[in-house]
Symmetry: C3
Subunit: 137 residues, 3 copies
């Protein structure tokens, strides 16, 4: 049987936010790695307001995980890249609404993502015990 | 027997480029993680033109994987960092010539890499069923 | 029995610094992933001088690993993000004092981290054969 994923705090997360400083991914688990996921709508358009872009990106993460047989609660690590430091507070607020457990986190502001105009990409790793393909067998 | 790696599309990659939105790495696989790999020539010099730097970086990725018992087609995730947004199109073109399957991708523009002058670093993760050491046993 | 982690050089690391171009993580190992770890002191204050901030961040990495049942020598990959290119040399010097083996490395300069004022975050992945929970059983 695969051991459970462990979410671990140490000494600095209490001063920063809601996340785990370390996550132990047990041997024998399937890992699902996501690309940097932007907040494009399914029709390819980009929301005008950042809050909606952050919500759409989170929904796209959820959908990509679902297609891989995983869900938001399986996430063990998130790396978020934003292009505007003034959007950090809004992003953190949306993130808390979407992800209620405590994965490991990285956030960085970068000058540009893969396409001009994108203000956010969310990269995530999830751990699951069965993939979609296995579940369909 | 180790299950196959799954490359999964969801809803946004069709609007962005040639990559997988999620990749499921099966339990029981060896992972090869690469450092950020620059486009230095084997003699340590840096190509003058970005296209050549991108080709050299890709070749260096290939060589590092080979030394670890892996190959380009084993790559499941690529993170590319460029210092100039105007080089993105050239990089994407080189990337398509080098990697013909669809790993997960992240691309970000950053102000500087480990050394001034480097315009690109490619970080990659590959999944293999046998490492070089095991193959030599 | 879990195979040993392999640290592999290819052709470019000799021109850049002390790290491995590839690391092969054996199947059957527990992976510990860390959040981006800043150089905050346990009381939440930030050192005035960057060298102390880098030392504190390294100590925080060590403590987070310890809480997860791992140690510095278990690190297989480090991603460092700094906000000021002029701090790179100091960071590399501190890093060499703290980590004496050769994990895979990525370093990027970014305009801002999760909170204004932070000049460094260290993200690391470690590989262990037993987690803290298992050791306490």
């Amino acid at each position: 049987m695969t051991a459970a994923t462990q979410f671990i705090d140490a000494r600095v997360s209490r001063h920063i936010g809601t996340y785990s400083e370390a996550v132990a991914i047990p041997a024998g688990a399937t890992q699902v790695v996501l690309s940097g996921t932007p907040g494009l709508r399914p029709d390819g358009t980009l929301p005008e307001h950042f809050a909606e872009e952050a919500e759409q990106a989170s929904d796209n993460v959820c959908e990509a995980l679902r297609c891989a047989g995983a869900q938001l609660s399986d996430i063990v690590q998130v790396r978020s890249r934003l292009t505007d430091r003034d959007d950090i507070d809004t992003y953190v607020k949306v993130r808390k609404d979407v992800i209620s457990h405590r994965p490991a986190y990285v956030l960085a502001v970068v000058p540009q993502l893969i396409r001009p105009g994108l203000r956010l990409e969310i990269e995530a790793t999830a751990v699951v015990t069965h993939t979609a393909a296995e579940q369909h067998e």
